[in-house]
Assembly symmetry: C2
Amino acid sequence: MLLAAAALMTERNTIDVPVADVAARAGLNAALVNYYFRTKTGLHIALVRRDAAQSVAEMQRLLATDLPPAEKMRRHLTGIIRTFYRCPYLYRLMRALMRDADSKAARELSEFFSRPVVETQKAIIAEGVATGAFRPIDPMMFHLCAIGACDHLFAESSTLRYTFGVTEIDQDLCNRYAETAVDILMNGFLAKSA
Amino acid sequence: MLLAAAALMTERNTIDVPVADVAARAGLNAALVNYYFRTKTGLHIALVRRDAAQSVAEMQRLLATDLPPAEKMRRHLTGIIRTFYRCPYLYRLMRALMRDADSKAARELSEFFSRPVVETQKAIIAEGVATGAFRPIDPMMFHLCAIGACDHLFAESSTLRYTFGVTEIDQDLCNRYAETAVDILMNGFLAKSA
């Protein structure tokens, strides 16, 4: 069912996919969707939860490696951008679920997605500061800047279209964006001599 | 009328302010709102246009100064964050207007707000690369990263609340965020020796 929802959202390039269509694609009765997820929001949260679980597992594997902290952070940030590219519905789904910051959905999403991301970044920052690779940095400030820079390629579709003439985010653009964004966050853009 | 709309949105901390209330605050007949702006969206676009005009004028003054490019960019980025703080409705209004990238509102907003910001950044980058102060950087990539990092303090209210326990963005937080975000974008967070 979640696979069907993800596939339809990706194909149609919208998160606004009727529950009946999801059920049909999954070859199941629409009543079952209601049985398992209760509401469309329930289905959406379950989908984000599935994607989050995969990302959190990846982050934990990364944290457990022996890579130097700078390389860990580089891979972590690149992974965030790739995740948004791989699951094109994910950014819009999260925005829609978190639109009302007081909602139960927003609280849940913060718990099972944002918190593990923040904890991973905190751990890598602590390692990096301990080894002298990173300047000391407030993890909250870092989190906001990093996520903002990582997700903004997916947030600015009208600027992309009307100001830059870009109508589609393809693999190549995603890769170049990941490279530049991670480079700016880690190195800034001042010339080394400045 | 626009002053009244801005004041009410700021006071109530929501962009969902009835046209009738705006008219009442401005001491005008609600029919006049319809006469001048036709729709609520029309009122919203006019409000963003007013704030944009102010920001664009500030950017042009900044561009015309003799400051070194790095200092110009620092002030430009800080200015973006301060604008979102000073007009707390602005971020949400722009999001709402740009939600549908095909809409007339999204196209207009890209023209009168995003384009001047992009042009300003392009000009400062060109100056900075010419003087050797900046590494060469793609203006589109830079724009997306920079705006993403600058606006994300205002985008993540549920993460702020549930993960960091921050329920309100005050002047002090805004200042510290501006300092850190601008510092990361310009210098990155790697230790200089790394």
